[in-house]
Amino acid sequence: MRLERREHRPLLLLIGAPVAAIVAALVLSGILIAIAGAPVFEAYRRILIGAFGSRLSATETLTRATPLILTGLAAAVAFRARLWNIGAEGQFYLGAIAVAAFGSKLLADLPGPILIPLLLIIGATAGMMLILLPLWLRLRFSVDEVVTSLLMNFIAVLFVSMLIDGVLKDPLAFGWPQSQPVADHATLPKLIARSRLHIGLAIAIVLAVVVYLIQSRTVFGMQSRAAGLNPQGAFFAGVPLGRTLVKVACLSGGLAGLAGAIEVMGVKGYVTTDLSPGFGYAGIVVAMLANLNPIGVVFAALFTAIMFVGADGMSRSLGIPTYIADVTVALSLLTMLVALFFTQYRIRR
């Protein structure tokens, strides 16, 4: 047996890959559910009910998908240029705390229609700043940005913890470390009344389309793709590698920072150190499941959100730990890697 590179990658295979990956991940987690002594099909049925069973749970799933679309896009644009930004978690928190800082006191006097877009820009900028240090270290000292951006996550969360325990601490939170809430007129309008679903979802989907257009229709999109596929070739073709990577990093960090900003302004209103149940890391899975396609990210984020929200309900009724959702999502990353491999290679005897 040997592996042979495929000449063509049939469209059917490209669409089939994520589906096969998700099915394989669900089968593997099904084994874990069975070992735990719960009925597997019932468990998955409860997950679906938990995610879509009522108006409340459906809007909750879409609310959860919103930050995942944005962190998924953040990973997708970076990975496409082979910039390994694993720091979306930290960038998320920095975007969130920036919004809490400016939206609670400093700029709170501005009227809503000005304040909201301004805060979104501030959140995105905060996220951008955090990725620039790892990028600078890579360009200047050729330090692998995977490790540095990962380490920045820990620093960022500690920084946020310091602020919400210090200058930004909410005096009305009974001593609990929690930031002051953003002003009422800085919260994002609701998409559907009497739910937590806010216009952040619309913003995220629009951004997915915008990123798709940037990547497929602009010079920068072509250059970032070239820088990822073959840096040396791109360099000889006249692509300014350093500048392209800086732009990619700003886009990626900005999207992750925006995710944090939107989560604060749309859902929580304030920042705690458990604001993100790993949105940054899940974004990596979302991007890979989408095969780095911005439109695919929306669907991959939806799958991930279904697992997380659905598992909560399933856990309550069947007693399976909610961590099964994290296991399934992580497994789907591994199975997707294998599935992608077989879109590129075939086995020959």
Partner: protein, 313 residues
Amino acid sequence: MSVVFDILASAGLWAAILRIATPLIFGTLGALLCERAGVLNLGIEGIMTFGAMIGWLAVFHGADLWTGVLVAAISGTLFGVLHSLLTVTLGLSQHVSGLGVTLFASSFSYYVFRLVVPVAGTPPTVMPFQPIDIPALSSLPFIGPAFFTQTAPTYLAIVIALIMGYIIFRTPVGLAIRMTGENPHAAEAQGVNPMKVRYGAVIAGSALMAVGGAFLTLSAFNSFFPTMVQGRGWICIALVVFASWRPGRALFGALLFAFFDAFQLRLQTVVEGVPYQIFLMTPYILSIFALALMARRARVPQALMQPYRRGER
């Protein structure tokens, strides 16, 4: 100044250094072994978490402590097989595969832990490794409590560092590992099977990572809780670069790192007015600093992160 001197003169600091360094020594050696054969193993964070959980779980269910360590090591080999399948056999991106292994191994750890130990007020504990009393040495004034009150795995970590240095630089096996990491095609021409070497290095390295994790639950602490590894795996990856891929320097790097960590922990209690988070940030900041300092000077194994496929260039 006298505060700094008081800290340096306390035996507790020096004992803490060795204790803090132990999981880092295991993890760094494990990552170093993988990278010497040309495979970056970012699964380390998750593998350490799983080792910590399963080692603890085995002891919690009545196994003795060394069996717990062994169980952790075996779990590490399994994740090593998984990572090798993805990166060696299939030649997939080592970055993404490693992150996938970390995400899977850590969430799987939490899942198993929660299945066995439902949410409780205080996490259940086990009887951890006790300090070994070394005749004559342990009773020396200052030196005894400072350097000879460690548990057995700490001494094991130091011994393994020395053995690994010997194996890598002085034995045919080590030569094969280094050749595979530098130029797998040349290794193949010499009759070495690069695939087998990479499998072996990743599996053995992952076992060491898991043992490093098990040290946390079986010696440093006595219970398991989610997120307890807290980036130690990533710090180990940085330490490998700092050590320039040499086991002896990895030992030194881990000790130096642990020195700063133990020092800041003590400084925290005497310096007032500085938020404790600043102190907690120092290990991560130091790691980034060490990376920036050493990245250019260190000699990277030339075939690191390059998949090897027979007959393909």
